[in-house]
Amino acid sequence: MTRRHTLAAVVAVALLGVTAGCTADRDGARVEPPTAAQPSAPPQAAPEESCNARASLRPTGALPAPRKMPAGTHMAEIFKRGRLILGTSQDTLLFSSRNPFTGRIEGFDVDMGRQIAEAIFGDPDKIQIKVIGYDQRVQLAANGTVDLVADTMTVNCERLAEVDFSAVYYEAGQQVLVNKGSTAKGIEDLGGKRVCAVTGSTSLENIAKVGSRPQPVGRAGWADCLVAFQQNEVDAISTDDTILAGLAAQDPYAKVVGPKFTSEPYAMAISKQYPEFTRFVNQVLARNKADGRWKRTYDTWLGDFGTAPAPPRAAYR
């Protein structure tokens, strides 16, 4: 889980604002006037500060009806195969986790994939879920092993060099989960305490960067952090608010505190071989954000944490 600091986004926005001379919207994305079909020029493998990570490929034309995918596109191929292959994890409650009652993997991320399957087949169940490791997400999307990765995956320029991303579908940020009785009001109050995050994630690096010097503790997965928390091996867990919400939902003695101290825009990763598929996904996302489907999905999975915010605005390049 590579996470990028807000700073990176701010710098990116500033640079783009200067070089392109375009207006930047609230999300810091360059907003272009709609144009006709763009050639699918490969995005440049630029250093992270000099790219606009949030800007995706612009949808073209009208959304094709289900089961009527244009010939020669990747969607037509998926239709021929009979199922959409989604890469995700199974340990992030509310986003993608195994339902203990049914044994199925479900959540906000899985529903994002199911909505794409519905747009292709007219049936959200025509989907195969592949559980992939956090460190395999970019690679398996890039080589087309999976059609789509929706897995609390933050867009950043480093990843953009290898895969395409859809428009942003969720805005997350790093917070802290502590015991109900704790007086801590944020990560700053946890100096010297053991704070858990997944090994190899930048959540773990971010913990070490905090001024009050909490002690980072690495575990294999988020649920493993919760196990460590429940067995008093760590004092707190710190990662994206979304993941923490899922952990807190499983432990009535835990609470999430503090402001978001990083910004993590989530988007779906897709192979660069299929720009038409990225455009198609963006079109479906745009429709769902507009017609209330996005809000319904939010209410289903995250409704317990308050009313749905406005969906993240799409930005295109």
Binding site: S97, N99, V131, I132, D224
Partner: protein
């Protein structure tokens, strides 16, 4: 220097004995008495060493090996069963819960009796202690997984995977170490049961005693008018009897030990290896399904393991070939047929999972057909192992027969040989008084 000077008069006196007739008789008598006593001592030592070695092999080493195998296979089965119980979703099926609990009971029972059979302070005792502690932690983690699952909390899976990691990465290697120690102890048990060094000395001494007895009698019949010295003839006869009894008992022991090793221990070791491999296949299958598409390593391991199990040089075929008994071999053949059925089903499970039909794959993998095939393999191997263990116990029991008696009888007969030698030579010595 002083000792040599002190010894010299004694040595000279003994040397001088050779020059007189009564002196020579005295020398012969002491040689016979010394050899007789030594033979008696060695008869006792060789027989009791073989006896205790055989007893240790049958009563401690081999049972320890069986228990180590039980611990290993029950741990592997518990891991597989727990993974399968969670695979389907919902509450764990009662049959699988029961099977898991049976496995844990088998592990703890075997650990208790293994603790009795390991010498305190040894590596095996340490391993048993570590296993006992680890199994308690493992059971607690699985219990937490079940409690969370009962509440519908996905964190249950994390508890289960922690338990599984503990089982696969810590407990099973420990059980494997115990198994290796036990295997070594069985091998050592065979050689200490054979007590080859003592038995060789014993046989050599008997030969020397026999030769000396004959030599003394030849000399006596040459120097006196009597052709036969009756007590010495009787002593020779007794020695022949002792030799016949000893070789009868010891040859029988070795023959039974050879059978126990060839038809008992060897097939049991092969079968237990096969059983552990079969369990690993089943575990790999369940874990590959749990991993949902990223279980490549498990599938690879499945392939490696099943390759070692099947084929003309596979473990099952070799185990079947190592059994010299038709009905026991039949059990292994049954297991091989069941294994073939299981492999076919596994192929179908993988086809389903790879084509995106995960639910159907899980259903087939934990379904009755696959469970029956798997049970068939286990039953076949288990029946063959029971049969071979029974043969081992029988043979080792037979190997120990007569050794206890020889421990007493050997020294007793040797003492009688000494007494007869003394009787035979005293009569001659008295002629010089």
């Amino acid at each position: 220097m002083t000792t040599l000077q002190l010894d010299r008069p004694g040595f000279t006196r003994v040397a001088q004995l050779r020059h007189t007739s009564p002196g020579r008789l005295q020398l012969m008598l002491s040689a016979l008495l010394a050899l007789g006593l030594l033979t008696g001592l060695l008869a006792g030592v060789a027989a009791s060493s073989a006896d205790s070695g055989t007893g240790d092999l049958g009563g401690r080493a081999q049972p320890l090996l069986t228990e180590a195998e039980t611990i290993y296979s029950a741990l592997a089965d518990a891991d597989t069963t727990a993974a399968q119980a969670f695979l389907g979703g919902g509450l764990e099926p009662a049959a699988l819960t029961r099977r898991y609990e049976d496995d844990l009971t088998r592990v703890t029972t075997a650990l208790t009796s293994a603790a009795r059979r390991t010498p305190a302070g040894g590596e095996s005792a340490d391993t048993v202690r570590e296993l006992a502690t680890g199994v308690t932690r493992y059971a607690a983690l699985v219990a937490a997984a079940r409690a969370n699952n009962r509440q519908g909390l996905p964190v249950g899976s994390a508890y289960l995977s922690q338990a599984s990691a503990l089982n696969r990465e810590v407990l099973q290697p420990q059980a494997d170490r115990l198994l290796r120690i036990a295997q070594q102890e069985v091998e050592d048990g065979y050689s200490s049961a054979r007590s080859s060094v003592w038995v060789t000395f014993y046989v050599l001494l008997m030969a020397v005693l026999f030769a000396t007895l004959l030599h003394v009698q030849l000399r006596l019949s040459r120097t006196t008018k009597r052709t036969f010295n009756v007590p010495l003839v009787a002593a020779t006869g007794l020695l022949v009897v002792l030799g016949l009894i000893s070789s009868g008992v010891l040859f029988a022991q070795r023959a039974h030990l050879d059978t126990a090793e060839k038809d008992g221990s060897t097939p049991v070791t092969l079968l237990s290896k096969a059983r552990i491999f079969v369990l690993r296949e089943r575990g790999d299958e369940a874990l590959a399904l749990t991993a949902r598409g990223s279980g490549g390593a498990y599938e690879e391991d499945f392939g490696t393991v099943s390759q070692r199990l099947t084929g003309p040089y596979g473990l099952l075929e070799v185990a079947a070939g190592s059994i010299g008994d038709d009905s026991a071999e039949e059990h292994v053949r049954d297991a091989m047929v069941a294994h073939g059925r299981y492999l076919n089903l596994h192929r179908k499970v993988r086809e389903l999972d790879d084509s995106g039909q995960h639910d159907a794959a899980v259903k087939l993998a934990v379904g009755a057909e696959a469970s029956n095939a798997f049970q068939g393999i286990n039953d076949g191997i288990g029946a063959a192992m029971d049969d071979r263990m029974a043969l081992f116990t029988r043979e080792v029991g037979a190997a120990g027969r007569g050794l206890g008696a020889l421990t007493v009888l050997g020294p007793l007969l040797a003492l009688m040989i000494c007494a007869l030698s003394w009787l035979g030579l005293r009569a001659r010595l008295e002629e010089y008084r």
